[in-house]
Amino acid sequence: MSTRVVVTGIGMMTPSGFGEEAVKRTILAGVHQFRPITRFDAAKFRSGIAAQSHYEGTLLDLGIRCAEEAIRSAGSPDVENASLVLGIQGDYDALSRYWEARTERGEYESRIAEFMPSYHLEALSERLGMKGRGKKIVLNNACIASSNAIGVGYELIKQRRADTVVCGGYSLVTEEMFAKFDSGRAFASDGRIRSFSRNRTGMLLGDGGAVLVLESYDAARRRQAPIYAEMAGWGLSCDAFHVSQPHPEGAGVARAIEKALRTSSIAKEAVDYINAHGTGTAYNDKSETLGIKQAFGEHAYHIPISSTKSMTGHILEGTGAVETAISVIAMNEGILPPTVGYEEPDPLCDLDYIPNRPRPREINTVLNINASFGGNNTAIIMRKLK
């Protein structure tokens, strides 16, 4: 009999703060979190806006806090023998401090270790007491890193290589990453993400992270764990098109969705909501729309879709896990989060994007889509446990 995979714990931070309540208070209410950056001097950049949270700790501490909260919310999972799969980038502030110390004082800055994602993996593993022989894996494939991590967690359980997997990712707005996106002219010129809207001008960054506890259904049932959702399936694909631009017809997005539907063994018509990658760039939103249409056919017009990045900003490596967690919370609350900042219909993006206002709706199955540089795409399907 096939192993079912369930979500038994969620620990998360969005730009509006830690926990599910912050998500319900802001994202499910359609409140965006963009504001002028205060974490560093952004005057030298083209944009000075991000969904910066009030969190002031390090990236590593953010990961620890999300993971500890996920485990706490899962009750008492077998953490000692659990696997840990993270999708993260290292701490660029640690790299900046290293070069500052090296250049100005000729000293070695030991916090540079936190620039290595593998250091986070070891630190979290030790902090959480994962002393067993569970797998420890860290992925650093940009904006699909944490959704890929959740997919790997799913496979570990599905293939019976693990019973419990702690997985997810996190990211903070740093000056280094901000400078790179600024030099790539990727930021929205008007300080708002207007995903799928004709007048969209680009993306903005945001703070956040999410860690999920995945367990086999049998393990979760044995210990009477709370079950947030069943992870029904996932897909990962490559566009084979361009270094940084998405496939113009959304071919890779469609393949990822089709794989997720196939592994989930669910009909297209069963998908009640799509949390789109929806970065707010001209290229992404158009090709993602085409990819959704290719995968769902005419039914695409009947699925409510939103980009929660329009409120949280793009959380880079953490975005897949955060948006998966938001989708699960939305499903359990029966509220579709909107695409805020949506102003003008775009003939190239002609689906139902839940413009500006949340929508109450019975939701049983959600799909989260993410994409990254290199043309990589992920699709994750979560549903209510039946």
Binding site: A179, C238, V243, G374, G375
Partner: protein, 286 residues
């Protein structure tokens, strides 16, 4: 069980396994210039700031051009690196520190996906591409991911790639991080293994080898085969285990049956743990 059906190994020695074996022999006898740690590698358009991306592209190109990939739509790639593209990361960081913030090349070059996307577009590779990182133990980490992906229905072969580049920052970090006490230095190296399920090995695959066992040993714990373990004489940070594996595999291939049918190689992590990886000519199926 994993089968290794093809290998590639590029570094300061050149682009062939034969050159690598010669380099190891010369290194053992002190005939190698220890200062030379960079590889001569053809540039890749748009990826000009670092050797990281050209190394990755060249190794994928090798497998494509040598017809090792049976179906481009069923090949997954797992790209691994302990330290990543340090040249790009450091250039961006130092630019920012000195007030130079306009280098759009660093925008996409800063993530390892980009070169995979470039290769995918050139060679029409549409299956899963994943980038991982680790603190040593590269071979074991890459094998873990390969096993996982090969158990998925759409994947027939997995190309695992371990890439590291020469960097003074890496040398400095390694000196602070490594707990095994062995001196090592960063080199431009990329080691790739084409893997598939042992049960799927086809007749045209010449002399495949099989990964019989991967055992994780705690610091101080010795493998029973430790004395016989095969070690590459090049102390390359990050890729040492993979280079050990290539050396052992090639020697296994070159020897006749009387030389024995298996080799165990060490694959150390920076934290002091070590994997003992055993490869065999013929799998001992249980």
């Amino acid at each position: 069980m994993l089968a290794i059906t093809s290998m590639s190994c590029i570094g300061p020695w050149g682009e062939t396994i034969e050159a690598f074996i010669d380099y190891c022999t010369d290194s053992d006898s002190g005939r190698v210039d220890p200062i030379r740690r960079n590889a001569d590698i053809a540039p890749v358009p748009g990826f000009i700031e670092s050797s990281f991306n050209p190394l990755v592209y060249r190794t994928i190109q090798y497998f494509v051009e040598n017809a090792r990939i049976r179906d481009h739509a069923k090949l997954a790639i797992v790209l691994g690196s302990a330290f990543g593209d340090t040249a790009t990361a450091d250039l961006a960081s130092r630019n920012l520190l000195s007030g130079k913030i306009r280098n759009p090349l660093l925008f996409y070059q800063s993530v390892p996906n980009s070169i995979l996307g470039f290769a995918a577009s050139r060679f029409h590779l549409t299956e899963m591409m994943t980038c991982i990182t680790y603190n040593g133990g590269a071979a074991a980490a890459l094998f873990d991911m390969a096993e996982l992906y090969l158990s998925m229905p759409d994947v027939e072969q997995v190309l695992v790639i371990g890439v590291e580049t020469q960097s003074d920052r890496v040398d400095e970090m390694y000196a602070h991080l490594a707990k095994d006490g062995e001196p090592a230095f960063s080199h431009d190296t990329v080691v790739s293994l084409l893997l598939e399920q042992a049960s799927a090995v086809q007749a045209e695959d010449q002399s495949p080898l099989f990964v019989q066992d991967i055992v994780r040993l705690a610091p101080g714990e010795k493998s029973a085969d430790e004395a016989d373990a095969w070690r590459c004489p090049i102390p390359a940070i990050g890729n040492a285990g993979l280079l050990n594996l290539v050396l052992a595999a090639e020697q296994l291939r070159r020897q006749d049956e009387s030389g024995g049918g298996e080799r165990t190689v060490p694959d150390a992590t920076f934290g002091g743990d070590q994997y003992a990886i055993t490869i065999v000519r013929r799998p001992h199926l249980v």
